[in-house]
């Protein structure tokens, strides 16, 4: 909401600078997002107080040598009036009228040397006014347009201000800064300050914060002449819950002309476009005191009444729509209606959407003279629902959907009628029609003093609290241990003591509340086992050179299906969004690996080395539960160059299966888990390069080289034959298997004996089986078994391979001799020969 400070000053005294006002309001919860300065210090163009002043137009004559120019004689407080050459079209009507002093016509006058914006250039370019002849007549002053002063982009004519009993006092020579200079605050109206969605609302808050009185606008209305509004119009409703009050006033003989300058200027600064005085007054009242209102074409309503009550009153009725009913709103759109949208109707049909927008049929037309002014109260939830579902957001619905108290309806109607009388020349027909079927009860709240102190941390007396609340117009009666507080009707946000504590804190000022350390009992400290383990895994993987990623948890079935080429799709149900922003982000993922691969593919356009991992949840819809099961997964992807290429080593070495396996082995070692692998088959992975990871008997994941079709479908930009390694691990299967601590192995005091052993085995004997056999045969003295060579071909028998190991023997209590070693070695060879058909390699 845009709040011009000049407008605010009509209701409350303001001595502070705009920045100070903004700070005070911001700290109290009315966040000022921006301050726009116009003409005053702080603005890009500050109007010179000596050289940009108010002038009164005394006479307008045609320029003798130019059709499109006039000569305006302007009094500005100097000894002689100044003759100004101007082409402003809005002065032409005054040509030849002689002395027009009596019209009280004023305009900002810039004297020679004043800095203005150039009205003829795009945007805002400053220029200094210099005297020069215009078609033979020397001109040293200028009457200004809004554009030249930086108020708006308007450059069609000069600013014309008429002095009358409703306008501010205009005097020739007054600095324009004092009349039109301003600071406009942009305030963020969050839901709990709906009461501040008006100038009066903000003024009230500022008055309370600065402990000053507020001057409300006058709600008196002069009604005279014949007739009675109450006899001409009656009102009823089907829905007193949705429409608790409906106030209407008949105004006759309004003249639809432009509004006076001061009113147009205020509307513009507040972000509204002036239309004509009838529309402008309606908007002005809403901006001023917060009550949205609507004007109907009275004669049109009367015509319709002739169909249903030729001799009776116009009858306005509010109700819910009938089946299939539609309404054309005044923006010209025909709308189908929601069953709960409240309508303003008569017996002929509908007239408008209650609280949101009027209908096209009954709107004010250029020839309209008589109007029916409506100010009503509507249920905020209902307006919110309707406005949201219809996609129709208006200034009225903005306020009604946040709550406007029914008390405001009568005030708004009176204020509007009086302004139409004064500014549009209307006659307010006596007899305000005030239909009020459902007045709300006043709200009284008991505030326990101890509770207030305990919640705020402020040691205030009941009296002090009452005083703070009274500044905000709460009525607070002090009792021994509590306050009994009556809430002002417009404060729809106050429900209980806690709300009053916030008001006390706000007025005490948040910044004055002390800083204290939590002194309350410390809860039991339990830690978070799963998180700690995840963090440990992340650290281990980072140490091994992998980069952590965090991906979108929203994915699509189509993307995840790319991981399963030539196989049936994942038929487990997804948690699917009903309002996704795009098909690519429409379901909660089933596969973390698919998400990490999406990131790997994106990076493959730029990177030759991609080592990634992520820990995150997948989501499995569960038919027996409302919420899905969220399961933690670990995914790893390695592809590209294993080491960072340097100027010394520029032949790329590519990651392969055993890099991934090594990373995982490192991880298991860190966690103290014994994980074994066995060959597996899975559609995501390349046959023969896929392994199942087993923790005891439990499968905890899969690893392998991605199937070439998967690489292709995921659009991973890799070299031909460049392996993409991936692992998908179920952390849920690991969390409770990680031992809290691992026993330490002492550092041996006696030297080790090392020797090599080369064996020839059939190719179908797994390396893991050979190693396991060696360890079994070697017994406790065999400390290390390390494969250092694998060889196929040469003079080996076909279908066989050679595996060569470094073996390390060591005892804790003595130095082993060659004889000891030989004994173990022979046992190993014998056992391998017997169990695996292995031979010592010659």
């Amino acid at each position: 909401m845009l709040v011009p400070l000049s407008w605010l000053k009509e209701y409350v005294n303001i001595d502070q600078s705009p920045a100070e006002v903004a700070d005070l309001l911001t700290n109290a919860g009315l966040e000022v997002k921006t301050i726009a300065y116009i003409g005053i210090p702080g603005a890009d163009l500050v109007w010179d107080r000596e050289k940009i002043i108010l002038g009164q137009i005394l006479q307008v004559e045609q320029h003798p040598d130019a059709d499109k120019l006039v000569l305006a004689t302007v009094a500005y407080g100097g000894e002689q009036p100044e003759v100004v050459v101007t082409g402003a079209p809005n002065l032409f009507p005054f040509v030849g009228q002689g002395d027009i002093r009596g019209r009280d016509l004023f305009s900002p006058l810039a004297l020679e040397g004043a800095t203005l914006y150039d009205g003829h250039k795009e945007g805002r370019k400053k220029t200094v006014l210099k005297g020069k002849p215009l078609r033979g007549i020397f001109n040293r002053c200028m009457l200004c347009s809004e554009k030249e002063l930086g108020i708006s982009e308007e450059h069609e004519g000069i600013i014309l201000m008429v002095k009358d009993e409703n306008s501010p006092v205009y005097q020739p020579g007054t600095p324009v800064q004092d009349l039109l200079g301003d600071a406009v605050l942009e305030i963020d109206v969050i839901p709990n300050i709906a009461r501040c969605a008006s100038m009066v609302g903000v003024a009230r808050e500022y008055a309370a914060l600065t402990n000053q009185p507020i001057q409300y606008p006058s709600y008196e209305v002069v009604m005279e002449g014949p007739g009675s509004g109450q006899e001409r119009v009656t009102i009823s409703t089907d829905e007193p819950e949705l429409n608790p009050r409906f106030v209407a006033i008949v105004i006759e003989g309004v003249e639809q002309k432009p509004s006076p300058h001061w009113l147009q200027h205020r509307l513009r600064l507040a972000g509204q476009r002036p239309i004509n005085v009838v529309v402008d007054v309606s908007n002005y009242v809403m901006l001023e005191m917060g009550q949205p209102n609507h004007t109907f074409d009275y004669d049109y309503l009367r015509q319709r009444a002739d169909q249903y009550a030729p001799n009776g009153p116009i009858h306005i009725h509010t109700r819910l729509p009938r089946k299939g009913e539609t309404l054309t709103t005044l923006d010209g759109t025909e709308r189908s209606l929601l069953p709960y949208t409240i309508l303003v109707t008569d017996a002929v049909g509908n007239l408008g959407l209650g609280g949101i927008m009027g209908g096209e049929n009954s709107e004010i037309k250029p020839e309209t003279k008589n109007v029916l002014l409506e100010a009503a109260a509507w249920n905020f939830i209902n307006i919110r629902k309707s406005s949201t579902r219809l996609g129709l957001f208006t200034e009225a619905s903005f306020r009604f959907s946040r709550g406007v108290h029914p008390s405001q309806a009568l005030l708004g109607a009176k204020r509007g009628a009086e302004l139409l009388r004064r500014l549009a020349g209307g006659r307010v027909v006596p007899g305000i029609i005030d239909y009020y079927p459902n007045p709300p009860q006043p709200v009284t709240v008991k505030l326990d003093l101890d509770y207030a102190r305990r919640l705020s941390g402020l040691d205030l007396t009941g009296r002090e609290m009452a005083d703070l609340l009274q500044r905000l117009a709460f009525k607070a009666d002090l009792h021994t241990d509590h306050l009994l507080v009556t809430v002002p009707d417009y404060r729809l946000d106050i429900e209980g003591g806690h709300d009053l504590v916030e008001e006390i804190c706000r007025l005490y000022r948040y910044e004055e509340i002390p800083l204290t350390v939590l002194a309350d009992t410390l809860p039991p400290q339990r830690g978070n086992h799963k998180l700690e383990l995840e963090e440990q895994i992340k650290d281990a993987l980072v140490q091994m050179g992998l980069q952590e990623v965090i991906t979108y948890r929203l994915s699509s079935a189509g993307h995840e299906a790319r991981l399963l080429p030539n196989s049936p799709p994942d038929d487990r149900p997804y948690v699917a969004l009903t309002n996704p922003i795009s098909p690519e982000r429409s379901v909660m993922r089933h596969s973390l690996l698919a998400s990490v691969l999406e990131v790997a593919a994106a990076n493959s356009r730029y990177q030759s080395r991609i080592p990634l991992f992520e820990i995150g949840p997948i989501y499995l819809a569960d038919e027996d539960a409302v919420l899905p099961t969220e399961l933690a997964r670990l995914a790893l992807v390695l592809t590209g160059e294993r080491v960072v290429r340097t100027w010394q080593q520029n032949q790329p070495e590519l990651y392969d299966f055993f890099d991934l396996k090594g990373v995982l082995d490192g991880l298991w070692a860190d966690l103290g888990l014994t994980v074994t692998v066995e060959p597996a088959v899975h559609p995501s992975f390349r046959r023969g390069r896929t392994a199942r990871l087993l923790l005891g008997e439990t499968q905890i994941g899969l690893m392998g080289e991605l199937h070439p079709l998967v690489v292709e479908k995921l659009d991973l930009r890799v070299e031909k034959n460049q392996p993409v390694l991936a692992a998908d691990i179920d952390l849920e299967a690991i969390y409770h298997r990680v031992p809290p601590a691992r026993p330490y192995t002492s550092i041996p005091a006696y030297p080790a004996v090392r020797e090599d052993l080369a064996l020839v085995v059939r190719q179908d004997v797994a390396a893991a089986a050979v190693e396991q056999e060696i360890r079994k045969a070697g017994g406790y003295l065999l400390r290390q078994v390390e494969l250092f060579d694998l060889f196929i071909g040469g003079n080996l028998p076909p279908g066989h391979r050679s595996l060569a190991y470094h073996l390390t023997y060591q005892a804790n209590d003595k130095t082993l001799t060659d004889k000891d070693a030989r004994k173990i070695r022979q046992r190993i060879i014998a056992q391998l020969e017997r169990n695996l058909g292995a031979k010592l390699r010659e």
């Binding site: 919640l455 806690h498 504590v501 706000r506 509340i513 009992t521 952590e548 929203l554």
Partner: protein, 341 residues
């Protein structure tokens, strides 16, 4: 014989001086001082001298021997140094050539920020509590005092799922009630990190998913002043001891009183810059005293318990700290971005 000694002495001195390499020096040593060297041989001839001459000769030869030995050692040191210098001089590196970086991995920047937050609050007795991403409308809104069609719901555009009343949580506040149900009647100090989701267009400034860290403290005597104290302490530890905080009134349905906490801009020291939009303050978190309705929904009697809650965005904190101007970088996971942190 003394003459012979003097001659030998002079000759040895000259020879030592002439030795240009370690090899020359070894030859010299063998020739004069070693077991079969000239000086040694001459020593052995002392017996041929008269008893009167012997002491004089013996003394003289010892002095010379010692002198040559010292000269030899210093010459040896000299030559060794010279030779090392020569070797080093012959094999220098262009030290301006690029170094070889080990292949490093890093934590995602959000994980790094989360860890800082965990550590600071951990020191104050707040432990990590996690709750689901996919939530019911009841936990995400209703029990947090957002009735249906409440205007505050509009501040958070939800993603709805194919199960009625099940949404993606819009804030980690959704976990507050879960924590209360789990811990009642114990006092509570937890932080709740987690991914949150909002139905917004993905732009440089808004994302459909983002992390949040919620905090919740419930006890018998927890005050708004405690909230200010705790969060100011946090801000000083995260952003630096010189930082100031500012609490201004705000609105959340699940807290009352509510506040926004701003931290004095750590880029301009509060003087005003582009990042803080010339205000000198950066908006860091929302907070407030737990609303009585929320306490009651969590099982805690609001007449006996009070509490505070707060929520912050680690991505926003990282963006401010590092001047990141596009939130899409976080889940884009471009390695060129991630490897900078």
């Amino acid at each position: 014989m003394l003459d012979e000694l003097e001659k030998l002495h002079a000759e040895a001195q000259q020879g030592l001086h002439a030795a240009a390499t370690s090899d020359d020096l070894s030859t010299w040593f063998r020739h004069y001082l070693a077991g079969k060297g000239q000086i040694t041989l001459l020593t052995r001839q002392v017996g041929q001298l008269s008893p009167e001459e012997r002491p004089v000769f013996g003394q003289q030869i010892n002095v010379i021997k010692k002198e040559l030995q010292t000269a030899y050692e210093s010459r040896a040191e000299e030559l060794k140094m010279a030779e090392l210098e020569a070797v080093m001089a012959a094999d220098t590196l262009d030290v301006t050539l690029p170094g070889r970086q080990p292949a490093r991995g890093r934590l995602h920047i959000t994980t790094q920020t989360l860890r800082q937050i965990y550590r600071i609050f951990g020191d104050m007795g707040f432990q990590v509590y996690r709750s689901p991403d996919v939530e019911t409308d009841a936990y995400n809104f209703e029990m947090l005092n957002f009735p249906p069609h409440h205007p505050a719901r509009e501040m958070q555009d939800s993603f709805y799922t194919n199960t009625p009343d099940v949404i993606l949580r819009t804030h980690t506040s959704a976990g507050q009630i879960r924590a209360m149900h789990e811990y009642y009647p114990e006092p509570i100090r937890v932080i709740l990190p987690g991914m949150c989701y909002r139905n917004e267009q993905i732009t440089a400034r808004s994302e459909i998913q983002f992390y949040q860290v919620e905090g919740l403290a419930v006890g018998h005597n927890i005050t708004f002043a405690d909230l200010k104290g705790t969060l100011t302490e946090f801000a000083k530890r995260l952003f630096g001891a010189k930082r100031q905080t500012r609490f201004r009134a705000s609105y959340f349905p699940f807290t009352e009183p509510s506040a926004e906490m701003d931290v004095s801009c750590f880029l301009c020291d509060g003087k005003g810059c582009q990042v803080c939009k010339q205000t000198g303050w950066l908006e860091i978190l929302g907070c407030g005293m737990v609303h009585p309705v929320v306490l009651r929904n969590g099982g805690y009697n609001p007449e006996k318990y009070t509490g505070f809650a707060f929520g912050m965005g680690p991505e926003r904190i990282a963006m401010l700290k590092y001047g990141i101007n596009d939130i899409r970088q976080f889940w884009g996971n471009d390695l060129r971005f991630l490897q900078q942190f």
